[in-house]
Structures are given as C-alpha cells and as structure tokens.
Symmetry: C2
Subunit: 248 residues, 2 copies
Amino acid sequence: MNRVKAVVSYDGTNFAGYQSQPGLRTVQLEIDKALRKIHKEIPVHSVASGRTDAGVHAFGQVIHFDTPLSLPTDRWKMALNVLLPTDIRIVSTAYVDEDFHARYGAIGKTYKYVWTRSKVQSPFERNYAVHLGKWNPDVEIMQAAATHLIGTHDFTSFCSSKTATTNKVRTVKRLVLEEEGDLLTMTIEGNGFLYNMVRTIAGMLLAVGIGWNTPADVKRILESCDRNNAGKTAPAHGLYLESVDYED
Amino acid sequence: MNRVKAVVSYDGTNFAGYQSQPGLRTVQLEIDKALRKIHKEIPVHSVASGRTDAGVHAFGQVIHFDTPLSLPTDRWKMALNVLLPTDIRIVSTAYVDEDFHARYGAIGKTYKYVWTRSKVQSPFERNYAVHLGKWNPDVEIMQAAATHLIGTHDFTSFCSSKTATTNKVRTVKRLVLEEEGDLLTMTIEGNGFLYNMVRTIAGMLLAVGIGWNTPADVKRILESCDRNNAGKTAPAHGLYLESVDYED
C-alpha cells in the first residue's frame, strides 16, 4: 500500500462541515466518493488533520489515504480534481511514509478569521468575511488583549462547553491582528485548538475592540477557566483553516 | 410620486438572471418583493438599466422606481438591504427627477470580464473568474486585437444571433486588458451593448490570445457582419456589470 498526503482547499459555504454525517453534504463525503471512483468502487477512506464546522473554509486542510495504486504523484491531484465538485480543490498531492498521519502527526495549525468594515457588505463577501456593520473595533486594543492569550494556557474559557477533550492546555504561538483595506484579519497559530476555540477567541477580541470588555478582562476570563465568562462565538463563515504543520 | 434611483450590486451565482421570469429566482423578483413589503403589499415595479444573464454579476447595476413615500434618502438603502437577500445589496439610493429613466437614460456602460491563470482554481473563485487552465494567453496580442473593436462599428458578428435589435451599430470607447497577479481582466466601456456582445468579444480576444486567431482575423470578422465567424461566447460567471452612466 502507498500513503498519499493531500493539501485541500474548500469553500465551506455549501457543506455541513468537514466530517461525514448521514444524509448531509460534507467535504469528507465528497473526497471519499471521488477516491472510491478512482479505486473502481472499492471504498478508500481519507483521514483529515481535524474536522471543520459548517460554513468554515480551508486553504490548507491536510488529509491522507492509503491506496494500492501507484499513479505518478501529480496524477493524484488531477484525478481527484476532475471528480471533485469545484468547491473542493486538491492543491497538491505527495507520497509520504506509512508513519505519516494527517491527524496524529499534526504539530501545529494556523487559522485566519476575517471581518470586513465595508459600509455596505459586498454580496461577493457575504460568505467569506463577517460584516462589522456599525461596529468600529480598535485594532490596537484587540492586539493588546491578544497578547494575554499567547503562550501555554488552559483554554477552558475559550472553547465550546461541549468539548470532549479533558486536557484543555494548548500553546498559542502567534496571534496577530492586521488591517488591509476594509478587511480586519486575525491570524492564530498554535500546537492545536479546542472545539470552537478560534471562533471564541475571535468573538472575545472583537468584544474588546468595540469596548464591551478590556484587555484585562481577557486575562481574568482566561484564568477563570469557565466558558460562561467569554462572550459570543464568532460566526463560522469568517473562519479559514490556513495550514497544518508536520515534522519534516 | 417620488422617483428613486438605486445602485445595486449582486452576486449572480444563484440567480436565473436579472429579469423576472415565472417560477425562477431573479434579481428583479427579489427587489420588487422587497419594494412591495415596504409599500404594505402594494406592488411597486423597478426598472433596470438592462438585464443581465444567469450567473452574470454586478457591482453597479442601476434601477429606478416610483413611490408615494418620502423616506429620507439613505433610509431607502437601509430599508431595502434589511429586506433583500445578502446576495443583492443596495450600494446607494437617491431621489431623482421624474424624467430620469434607468434604461432609456443610460448613455454608457462599463463591463469587466475576469479570467484567472491560477494553476489549481481556488474554490473561492469558482463562480467569479473563468479558469484558464492550460491556456496561457498573450495579453499584448489580445490588446492589439482589441484595438480593432474600439470605435463605432456594426457589431453583428459580436452579438447573439437571437438579438432582436435591428440597429447593431455601437460605440466602444475603451477596451483594455490588464493583469494583476493571477487575474487577467478585460474592461470594456461603450454607449450600449448588444445581447451577449461582451461575452462574445471576451471569447474572441481569448481565442487570439491563445493563438487560434490573429488580430487581423478580428478586423475581418467584425467587417463580415456574420455571427458565425466569431468564436465561442465566454462563460457568464466571468462577467460583471461595473457601472452605468447617465447625463448629469
């Protein structure tokens, strides 16, 4: 058997999330359907670095799958792109060692969260950036609040109360707010993220940016280890899985 | 009665074109539905500068409608945007003289046509730019061909054979090819366009860019006044109605 690693980009708008669910259109379902066709109806299951929620996008999701076939490396990308719907694209494919694992081998991930300050939201951005409307967040204050989250912390306050994982300690390596034109972007890099963690952090930093909370509140809420203290989870359609890192 | 002019932007992806058609989701239908709600179920019909086909987008379509209401100017924009689906946005509204007419008063229009050279088409561009795939058009040759179309000509060769209009003479004021990153854009400004004229020109210029035709062919085809001589009509989803001009 050969193991193939693929980098996958998808527009999450018309998917009920990444993971297969009976009766729903998911990214995994479409990928596994394409793999099955390539393998003449023999089921081949892909494994992703992690799931993403309905509406969440990806530039660089990573998957792997095992195959008895030995196509030239680039043929995998082409064969899959011919069969996949155009809201999923395979960016690259490569053969990897059999000990490569898209999920367990991931040592870091980078997400982006995108807001827009445009006066009237462009219809072309409606599924790709969260409209700030009347809110006019102060980016410097958001960055000041963000620094409290950088480092190794128990992120219980900043994940869904439905999170199954017991160990909620994660390391945030980088958390940067940037502006370009009408767009306000949060980039967050860490060794791993809890369920809804990026969207909860985005919601919290926005609350600070518009003056509902202070940077000191963020520190206090982090230390309280109580999800009830952090504010609203930011909407799914502003979120992008940018890349997944592995040991070389 | 007051006459209101509105500039409208829409993502054409999920519309069966601009104009109302029984049983289909069109831009006009949604706008007139919103106007009817504002007028407490009294039908109010909007008039647009012209129709756009299914899949065609707009940054600056222009419409007008008559109303007995006297809302403050900006309230029209807000009231309509609250009621409209998010793939249609009212960019601006203004009261105009009763002799303003969105269709008959239009003295010029600008369209953009967008292709992408990206190796793998981004899923985020799939409805907004035409993927060139293996084609690598030469922009300078396209521009040379374009110059033959600038000016006042009979554009019979460059419109749909279904065009009902008998006078097929139009003036193209500007026709520019530009590159920015992976995107190749054609901008065309004229006093008016025949049915499918912009997409036929886009298809023809691309055919020149990839060497299927020469700039001299374009001149010859224009002079032949025969639609069968121009090549394939370019796909709808690369086309944007950029703006509509009126006398001040």
